[in-house]
C-alpha cells in the first residue's frame, strides 16, 4: 500500500512538471499532451492522498488500541497488587491479634444483648476455634500442595517437632483429621 502511494506521488509530480518543461506549447499535439498529463497528475495525486489518509487513520487506530491494551494491563496489575496487599494485611491482622478480635466480638455481643450469656460466649469460642482450625487446615493443605512432608508441615503449622511426645501425637492426629480426612 505504501509502495503504491509513493509510486502515485512520483507519477503525479512527473506528470505535472515534465510535460510543461519538456514539451512546446506552440505545437498542437504537445499542448494536448500537456493537458492530458496535468489531468493525470491531479488524479494520481488525489489517489495517493486518499491512500495516505487511509493509512494514517489505520495507524491512529492501532495506536489507540495499543494504548488501551497497555492501560488494561496496568489496571489489572494494580488491582491484583491491591487485592493481594489487602489480603496479606488481613491475614497478618488475624494472625497477630486473635485476642483483640475475640474481645471485640465479645464486646459487640455485650452491646447487643446487654450481658454476655453462656450460650453466646460458648458459640463465640467455638467459632473462634473453628476459624483457627480452618486456618490450620488451609495452611497445611497449601504446604502439602507445595510438596512439603508431614513432619515439616506439623512443625510449621502446629510448632511441634517430630518425636513421641503427646503434643506431637495430638498434632499428628489433627493433621490426619484435617488434611487426610481420617477420624482418629
Amino acid at each position: 500500500m505504501q509502495l503504491k502511494m509513493f509510486v502515485l506521488s512520483g507519477a503525479a509530480l512527473t506528470l505535472w512538471l515534465t510535460p510543461l518543461v519538456v514539451l512546446d506549447k506552440k505545437v498542437t499535439w504537445h499542448k494536448a499532451i500537456q493537458g492530458l498529463s496535468l489531468g493525470g497528475a491531479i488524479a494520481c495525486a488525489i489517489s495517493a492522498g486518499n491512500i495516505a489518509r487511509r493509512l494514517a487513520e489505520e495507524n491512529e487506530i492501532e495506536t489507540i488500541k495499543t494504548r488501551a491494551i497497555t492501560a488494561d494491563v496496568v489496571d489489572e496489575i494494580a488491582t491484583s497488587a491491591y487485592i493481594s496487599q489487602a489480603q496479606r494485611q488481613q491475614e497478618a491482622e488475624q494472625l497477630l491479634n486473635p485476642v483483640e478480635h475475640l474481645e471485640r466480638s465479645l464486646a459487640l455481643t455485650c452491646e447487643d444483648e446487654g450481658e454476655l450469656t453462656p450460650f453466646s460466649a460458648a458459640s463465640l469460642l467455638k467459632s473462634d476455634a473453628e476459624r483457627s482450625e480452618n486456618d490450620k487446615a488451609e495452611r497445611a493443605l497449601q504446604l502439602k500442595a507445595k510438596g512439603w512432608g508431614k513432619a515439616k508441615i506439623i512443625l510449621e503449622v502446629w510448632g511441634v517437632s517430630k518425636g513421641g511426645s503427646p503434643k506431637y501425637k495430638a498434632a499428628e492426629a489433627e493433621y490426619k483429621r484435617l488434611v487426610e480426612g481420617d477420624v482418629v
Binding site: 502511494m5 502515485l8 506521488s9 503525479a12 509530480l13 506528470l15 505535472w16 512538471l17 510543461l20 518543461v21 506549447k25 499542448k31 500537456q34 493537458g35 496535468l38 489531468g39 497528475a41 491531479i42 495525486a45 488525489i46 495517493a48 492522498g49 486518499n50 491512500i51 495516505a52 489518509r53 493509512l55 494514517a56 495507524n59
Partner: protein
Amino acid sequence: MRAAYLANYFIAGCAASSLLGWIASTSPMAAKAIAFLAAATFILWGLCWLLDFSVSGWLKISVQNLQAFLLAVLAMGIIGAGVFLCS
C-alpha cells in the same frame, strides 16, 4: 502519513492551478473565463481571510486550521500558475 497525504493534496492543488492556466491558454474566451474565476476566487479568499472568526465558526473548524488552509490554497495557486507561466 499525515504529512504524506497533505503533501499529495497540495501537489494535486498545484497541478489543478497549472491545468487552469493551460485551459486559459487554449483560447481567449477560456482565458477570460479563467480570469473571472481567478478574480472571484481571490475575492472570496480575501473575505475568508478578513472574516476568519465568522467563517471558522460556520465551518466548525479552528481559526488556525482555516488560516492554514487559506495559505495553502494561496501557495498552491501561486506555485501552479508560476510553474505553468515559467515553463
